[in-house]
Symmetry: C2
Subunit: 328 residues, 2 copies
DNA sequence: ATGAAAGCGCTAACAT
DNA sequence: ATGTTAGCGCTTTCAT
């Protein structure tokens, strides 16, 4: 096992507190002593135990991050943003995956809460009440979710939907379908609401085709329903679902965008690689993560700062899956 | 802040030690007291602080897992396997992503080591020496890597490559290219070695086309080199790279499998969704993760068990990207 | 069956 | 500039 601070103290012929101070670069210690302590520490391979330190300082140097599904390419993007920024601030990030399970998420939150300085919850599946309770217990930042005035970063989903509808309307589409995600998804509700408002404004008929799993298979399952609805374009809850849609369209001999236009959401890496490449409403994933960490730091520094909120721009990326509506 | 064990003790009218015992389900406590304590704990919303507990028991109930890149769909699969099994054993898993950076990996290992009961390193980029040093410090299980007798789980890459070559040889291919991954990848060396052996046995010419980034862009970049080499089939380091290859082939008007056959490795979810679907050597990702956790538990229970090693079967999945070699 | 006391490894007053 | 004391929240002897 690792050497303790006492071992170092003995080796350097000083007291444990001096070791602590010397290693913390306190300027209350004589340079000579610092040098002696560092040598002793190095030769013993001493590494301070962050757990013991955390017990007393109340700071662990860790950030917890919880996401619903690392298998969905959207989340690794956000995770990377969080990690990059956290690294700069010398925080380690502990990521946990909830498998889209709210109960599991609750357990993970409880477990993590005591061993991190702050928790970043991305697309949480918890209820508003549960989130309020968590926020009372630990510094909390929400990504892709808004509850009361818990600090949060959200993409401007409504505006993204507005861009998508404007684009489709300009291409002549008058009947646009939407395949929604899980009912419990806050982002999903935002998107549908944005779609409704934009459709009304643009004079487009929005056909709500139901809720589907936010997965490739969810899209496959939704595809036939889309085709039966007689829409000339469809907006999917996310890119993964859009890809499933396209896969089934191809199998049924429906060509995109000639027969039907498809718009995804998120801009996962895969979206650009599909054939044709997917038109999608890009959510800034890394920036979302980075902004989350920035919020954490503000939160941790000024005890009880205002409750900052940030909306991130989304951007429609027009690629190959949207085209003019077919005459007739 | 959360209630402490003392608050509960006071509320229940007992001593902290009794609370500790009552909550630990010790049978040395009277049922009545247990009940009283549980009530008090519940009403205060008390959750034992795992950090403080860990300091004394030496067990944290946490597992650390480190992967090179969560953006590569292979790793989330393994992570999910680890998490599923860990959950059963009531462990929380802290995942960290190293961005393929060995130095960062080393830092994360140090940081994590003291706050977890064991570390699972997947496709580690550290050197053998570094890994030996880590193993001396913390219970360590390697995935996709073998070093001395550090406990490890590895897929049978060589056999997978054998299957791939046998398949291609049966289709009439006599000149097969390989686009290798990063030189520092242990799995990559294993695969190339397996390919060499299998090619020799099968009487196939193996053309080693160099090392490329294990990414979509890496594949795109490799594609022209593949075409210039005049091979009728190519085995890529992994599926992501194979998809990049295919993308560039399509752009150059080379059709798969008519003009060239492509084999990937890993069987990421995307592989089945490409067009045509990718023939690939499947690595059992979730089983890999689960087996890793099983190893951890054995390691933690029997102090210094033998050094278990497990090879997992790989399986060639023949799909749409391989076909008979063209005459001429 | 329960309480008191000691201590995990560390840092932060409080002394000098 | 350094040592001594106390204590973070918890578990675990050792008493009773």
């Amino acid at each position: 096992m690792g050497a303790t601070i006492r071992d170092v103290a003995r080796a350097a012929g000083v007291s444990p507190s001096t070791v602590s101070r010397a290693l913390a670069m306190s300027d209350l210690v004589s340079p000579a002593t610092i040098e002696r302590v560092r040598r002793a520490a190095a030769s013993l391979g001493y590494e301070p135990n962050p757990v013991a330190r955390g017990l007393i300082t109340g700071r662990t140097g860790n950030l917890g991050m919880i996401v619903p599904d690392l298998g969905n390419p959207f989340f690794p993007g956000v995770v990377k943003g969080v990690q990059a920024r956290a690294r700069e601030a010398d925080y380690a990030v502990f990521v946990a995956d909830t498998d889209e399970d709210a109960a599991l998420e609750a357990r993970l939150v409880r477990k993590l809460a005591k061993q991190v300085d702050a928790l970043v919850l991305c697309s949480s599946r918890l209820t508003d009440d549960e989130l309020r309770a968590v926020a009372a217990d630990v510094a909390l930042v929400l990504l892709n979710r808004k509850v009361d005035d818990i600090p949060a970063i959200v993409p401007d989903n409504a505006d993204g939907m507005r861009q998508a509808i404007a684009h489709l309307a300009a291409l002549g589409h008058r009947r646009v379908g939407v395949t929604a995600g899980p009912v419990s998804s806050w982002t999903g509700s935002e998107r549908v609401a944005g779609l409704r408002a934009a459709a009304r404004t643009a004079g487009v008929d929005l056909v709500e085709l139901g809720n589907f799993a936010p997965t490739f298979q969810g899209g496959v399952a939704a595809a036939d329903i889309v085709l039966a609805a007689g829409v000339s374009a469809v907006v999917a809850y996310n890119d993964v679902m859009a890809l499933g849609l396209m896969n089934r369209f191809a199998a049924r001999g429906v060509s995109v965008p000639a027969d039907i236009s498809v718009v995804g959401c998120d801009d996962i890496p895969l979206a650009a690689m599909s054939n044709p490449p997917l038109t999608t409403v890009a959510v800034p994933k890394e920036p979302l993560g980075r902004a989350g960490v920035d919020l954490v730091r503000r939160l941790l520094e000024r005890e009880e700062g205002l409750t900052p909120r940030l909306a991130l721009d989304t951007q429609l990326l027009v690629r190959g899956t949207t085209g003019p509506v077919r005459p007739g």
